[in-house]
């Protein structure tokens, strides 16, 4: 069952890449693949027992025995929301791709490979297997940025590749060290988790792992690849990058950093909470000064992903659920914002906040995009009724009893979110329409469909947050030892 989530996209990628296809068929095949993966995921959702602790649908096959690599998959409350988010956002990304894209076969193949790799990383319960998928997903993303990106795509893609490769090496170093220290003969997650290491060893192994993860999330000061990658990537790739691939970092944070090195984690937690606050404030502060709409959203990602680090460092029962919820919420909201910014760019050819004006104009502008952008911005700045509010509230409420000051600083960053996004809205959508922009092609309803779906989810989960929290509540707590 779980293998299907990885194999369907990978096989389909091969089929799309190899078969001689003309016209729209690669796109249709990709949509069919994404739909079937989503269907498998939904079936999984019905069969998944949210009240039960531990991994379900486990598949464990010995793969390369002499290194101790097992093909060990499993799903729990931490993986489940992310896998679902991945399959859903893949579909959204494919739908929002321009149907006339150049080299469609390669593009869709890479996109599906990316999605399959990410799913594999979320499902792998073997450290080495996780690492393999973690690296596997970098390659297609590199090509997706380097081939279909903006003018400086070469620089951005190389920077992304070097950063994340470094991240992978550090993660691998930590995993190898752990296996060496425990003298285990395999990389099994549960097996390694049951070992109790002395604090000093834990810290020694945790440090490289954390740096690797911080690059991926990204946390200040390891974040500079992200704005470049986002700005150069095309809209669907930005959606996947922000919505899914950054979550690999926070997933690894909860699964491996907290799960394997709990004593070391507790020891570092006060410093990590402060780092989270710094990162949140730093991202927000940088976002205020940006002139490119996409960069604003990218820096807001830096800021909002830091809340997950805060929640993870608090390690209360509530904050662990909140961290997972915040991943889902950030995935939906940032994907939504990137879609809308992409729509503005597609129609006007610009993302410059100093150039664009008055796009809310009902006759010649982009009124629906503008209206949704206002809602998206509100969702991101934590307006109640949308998913951003309750996820952030739970993060803050869960972390406040442990780390009051960093939590309050993160709340300030939430306040700044409204500042930088409102400046964008005011400049780009309010005012008189820019003179040179008299000919904006109208937006068709189907072009907005992906954004509508996301908006519906953002509001639905905002009103009924328990639909998300009950997926992971029981098992998020199980990440903490002794509960």
């Amino acid at each position: 069952m779980l293998s299907a989530l990885i194999l369907i996209p990978c096989l389909s990628a091969a089929v799309i890449g190899l078969l001689p296809a003309k016209g729209n068929s690669p796109r249709n095949l990709a949509i069919a693949t994404a739909l079937s993966v989503l269907a498998v995921n939904l079936i999984l959702a019905f069969q998944f027992d949210f009240q039960q602790n531990g991994f379900q649908f486990v598949e464990d096959i010995a793969w390369i025995e002499w290194i101790g690599l097992n093909y060990h998959l499993g799903i729990d409350g931490l993986s489940f929301p992310l896998v679902l988010l991945n399959s859903f956002l893949t579909l959204i990304a494919i739908f929002s791709t321009n149907p006339q894209i150049q080299r469609p076969k390669l593009y869709y193949a890479m996109l599906l490979l990316l999605s399959g790799g990410a799913a594999g990383a979320f499902l792998a319960q073997d450290l080495l297997l996780f690492f393999l998928f973690y690296e596997l997903e970098i390659v297609p993303l590199y090509f997706l940025i380097a081939i279909w990106g903006g003018p400086k795509r070469g620089y951005a893609a190389m920077k992304f590749l070097l950063y994340t490769a470094l991240s992978g090496i550090l993660v691998l170093a930590s995993f190898l060290g752990l296996v060496w220290v425990t003298e285990a003969n395999n990389f099994d997650y549960l097996f390694l988790r049951s070992h109790h290491l002395p604090l000093a060893t834990q810290l020694l192994l945790l440090a490289p792992l954390l740096v690797g993860i911080f690059i991926k999330i990204p946390i200040f000061p390891f974040h500079t690849w992200l704005p470049d990658a986002h700005v150069q990537a095309s809209t669907p790739i930005s959606v996947l990058l922000a919505g899914v691939l950054l979550k690999l970092g926070t997933y690894a944070l909860l699964r491996f950093a907290v799960g394997l090195f709990f004593d070391g984690w507790l020891y570092l937690a006060p410093w990590l909470a402060i780092l989270a606050a710094i990162s949140a404030l730093y991202g927000a502060s940088c976002a205020i000064a940006q002139k490119d709409m996409k960069k604003v959203v990218a820096y807001s990602s830096v800021s909002h992903m830091a809340y997950i680090l805060l929640a993870a460092s608090a390690t209360t029962r509530l904050s662990m659920s909140a961290a997972i919820f915040q991943m889902v919420s950030h995935g939906l909201i940032s994907a939504f914002l990137f879609l809308l910014v992409g729509m503005v760019y597609k129609k006007t050819g610009s993302r410059d906040v100093d150039f664009l004006r008055g796009l809310l104009n009902p006759e010649k502008g982009l009124p629906v995009t503008g209206g949704m952008m206002i809602l998206g911005v509100m969702a991101s700045s934590g307006l109640p009724g949308m998913v951003g509010f309750i996820s952030e509230f739970l993060v803050f409420r869960g972390s406040f009893p442990i780390f009051p000051l960093p939590t309050l600083l993160c709340l300030v960053a939430t306040g700044l979110t409204a500042v930088y996004f409102l400046l964008v809205i005011n400049k780009v959508f309010f005012g008189r329409l820019t003179e040179g922009l008299a000919q904006i092609p109208p937006v068709k309803w189907q072009e907005h469909a992906p954004a509508f779906v996301l908006l519906l989810l953002i509001i639905a989960f905002g009103l009924k947050p328990d639909w998300v929290t009950h997926w992971s509540e029981v098992q998020a707590i199980a990440l903490l030892p002794g509960s």
């Binding site: 920077k159 070097l162 200040f220 974040h223 500079t224 502060s285 940088c286 976002a287 205020i288 000064a289 940006q290 209360t316 029962r317 509530l318 662990m320 659920s321 008055g358 809310l360 104009n361 009902p362 009124p367 629906v368 209206g371 206002i374 509100m378 700045s381 307006l383 109640p384 009724g385 509010f389 309750i390 509230f393 739970l394 803050f396 409420r397 869960g398 406040f400 009893p401 009051p404 939590t407 309050l408 709340l411 300030v412 939430t414 306040g415 700044l416 409204a418 500042v419 409102l422 400046l423 005011n426 959508f429 309010f430 005012g431 008189r432 947050p465 328990d466 929290t469 509540e473 707590i477």
Partner: protein
């Protein structure tokens, strides 16, 4: 039937929300054939339904004890978030005011925005606005109230920014949102803390928690201060007061709601939070100090404004300042009375001002005059509204003050002086406005000024009646506006003997000053430098906006520039440097290697 209506009282805010949703096809431009009017009618109909429903309950409620409707919203780990609604005379009295004024305002808006191309969008926003306000009136949970306050912040932003193509509107909407947001974020900090310390976030739970718990004084003080920050923003109190005045760039019907009900909504939450905010003397004094500064400062600012709406909106802040003081003194009933009297009278004043603005296409009072004979209903409304605010005529505010100083409450001489101060300046401001707008000789812009159409005059005249009648509302429904203390007179001290006469004298004094002071066009900007200095000081709101610019705004924008510079040249620069260095090293070593190879 009545049981059914009582049992489903939670549906009242939903009515207007449905109205707002139904208007979407018109406001998104999908339906164009009919024009935007049907959207407006639907919303008015929904408001009527809501008004009738709440009126029926309001009549039934007196014989019943207050009851709560508790709704478990979210349970995660050890946190249980409940939202609850209250069925009580206080909440339904508030609901009556909200739905009633909203109904009048919406009919008024039909006339005021008749020629506006996006009428449907306006009504959609009004429906949303009204739903949030109605929910707030019934809410018995701090979390729900916070959510609704935020919904109000959003809809204020969109309503102020309704005419978003105009530059002043754009900055006004931005400032309104961000100023309120500052208060709301601090309030959210308080809520997060309160939720961590306390039992739950329902107001009744908070009250029992306060009585049973002993927090450290510093924590209690910080908590109290953070909780009053939200209402400071909402009620336009110093130092977050300027947004209300700027927001006057938006359409007037929304301005009526904002100045009468929305500011009251913020104060209503404050009243509900009173047990917590007065837990620590620091925050109680904070309330009194903020209220006093605002009451004095904005009273002064109001008399120097030449924009009719701005002059009235500053006076709103002043009256909200009095409410803050009343809450700080734990005199909740007085706070309710102040809110109620102010809301009705100020709504009427704003309707009248809107009529003047619509007919003269102008907000500058120095260009008006002589409208008395041309617009009798509007003039009379202004007079009645002013009478409702000034403690000289026996209407709402007079009886409120009278009750405050009747001896049932612990009052002091400074308070009497302050109330007299507000009263004098309010009287000066309103008589001044009345003279320059309605009396005198007509100017260019006020020469051809017909009375407004019936859509505007009918709600205006109805509200005028309401203002005249509701002076007796507190006596009729004591459980609504004075839920805690019966309206009995207690001991008679010196202050209580002199208070009422003194207040009347202050009102009279204000009216006399306001009507005898010379009004000349040249006075709009005096040539006498000393006078001009003070005039400008008041007219530009004590330069508080400059203060913001030099402090908060400068700090944030410089920090943003600094961090983005750091990000680009230091953090990212280091990375690029490393990569460059690596390339250089590789190139150098390879050339050296090659050279060595060639030598051998």
């Amino acid at each position: 039937m009545t049981d059914f209506l009582l049992g489903n009282f939670w549906i009242i805010p939903i009515y207007s929300l449905i109205g707002a949703l139904i208007t979407l096809p018109w406001s998104l431009g999908i339906v164009r054939r009919t024009g935007p009017r049907p959207a407006a009618y639907i919303n008015i109909l929904m408001t009527i339904v809501g008004f009738i429903h709440s009126s029926i309950i309001f009549n039934l409620i007196w014989s019943r004890p207050a009851q709560q409707l508790v709704f478990h919203w979210l349970q995660v780990a050890d946190l249980d978030l409940t939202l609850s609604l209250e069925l009580s005379p206080v909440s339904f009295g508030g609901l009556e005011v909200v739905t009633g004024i909203s109904l009048l305002v919406q009919i008024y808006a039909l006339g005021y925005l008749e020629k506006d191309w996006s009428l449907a969008r306006f009504f959609a926003l009004m429906g949303f606005f009204e739903a949030a306000l109605a929910g707030l009136a019934m809410s018995d949970s701090l979390l729900l109230s916070y959510c609704l306050l935020e919904a109000l912040t959003l809809s204020t932003y969109l309503l102020v920014g309704f005419w978003y193509a105009q530059p002043l509107v754009v900055t006004a909407a931005r400032d309104a949102f961000l100023t309120k947001r500052v208060g709301d974020i601090i309030l959210l900090m308080g809520i997060v803390a309160l939720s961590s310390y306390g039992e739950g976030l329902n107001f009744s739970q908070l009250e029992t928690w306060v009585n049973g718990n002993q927090l450290a004084p510093s924590v209690a003080a910080l908590l109290g201060l953070s909780l009053i920050a939200g209402p400071i923003g909402k009620c336009a109190q110093f130092p977050l007061n300027l947004w209300l005045d700027e927001a006057m760039e938006g359409p007037n019907p929304a301005g009526i709601m904002r100045n009468s009900i929305v500011v009251s909504a913020g104060a209503y939450v404050l009243i509900k939070l009173e047990p917590v905010t007065t837990l620590s003397p620091v925050s109680a004094y904070g309330l009194i100090i903020v209220g006093t500064i605002t009451a004095i400062g904005t009273s002064l600012m109001a008399i120097a404004q030449i924009d009719i709406k701005r002059a009235l909106s500053h006076s709103t802040s002043a009256y909200m300042g009095l409410v803050f003081i009343a809450v700080g003194l734990r005199q909740v009933d007085i706070a309710f009375l102040l809110l109620f009297s102010h809301a009705i009278a100020k709504a009427l004043l704003f309707m009248s001002a809107g009529s003047v603005i619509l007919t003269t296409n102008n907000q500058n009072v120095t260009e008006m005059g002589g409208l008395w004979s041309r617009m009798p209903a509007t003039s009379l409304s202004f007079l009645v509204g002013a009478a409702g605010l000034i403690a000289l005529s026996p209407l709402g505010m007079f009886w409120t003050y009278h009750r405050w100083f009747s001896g049932s409450w612990d009052v002091d001489w400074w308070l009497l002086l302050l109330v007299m101060f507000v009263n004098v300046f309010s009287a000066i401001n309103l008589t001044r406005l009345f003279r320059v707008i309605f009396l005198g000789s007509p100017k260019v812009k006020s020469r051809r000024a017909p009375e407004v159409p019936w859509q505007m005059s009918v709600p205006m005249v109805s509200l005028m009646m309401v203002t005249l009648i509701t002076a007796f509302a507190p006596i009729h429904w004591p459980l609504w506006l004075s839920p805690n203390t019966p309206l009995a007179l207690a001991q008679s001290e010196l202050i209580t003997q002199y208070a009422t006469p003194l207040l009347i004298v202050s009102g009279a004094l204000g009216c006399i000053i306001g009507s005898t002071i010379k009004v000349r066009k040249a006075w709009a900007r005096s040539s006498n430098l000393t006078l001009r200095f003070f005039q400008d000081l008041l007219a530009y709101d004590f330069y508080i906006d400059k203060l913001y610019e030099l402090t908060v705004i400068a700090a944030v924008s410089n920090l943003a520039k600094l961090t983005s510079w750091l990000d680009r040249y230091i953090v990212d620069g280091a990375v690029n440097f490393v990569s460059l260095a690596t390339i250089l090293v590789v190139m150098l070593s390879s050339t050296i290697l090659l050279d060595n190879l060639s030598f051998t």
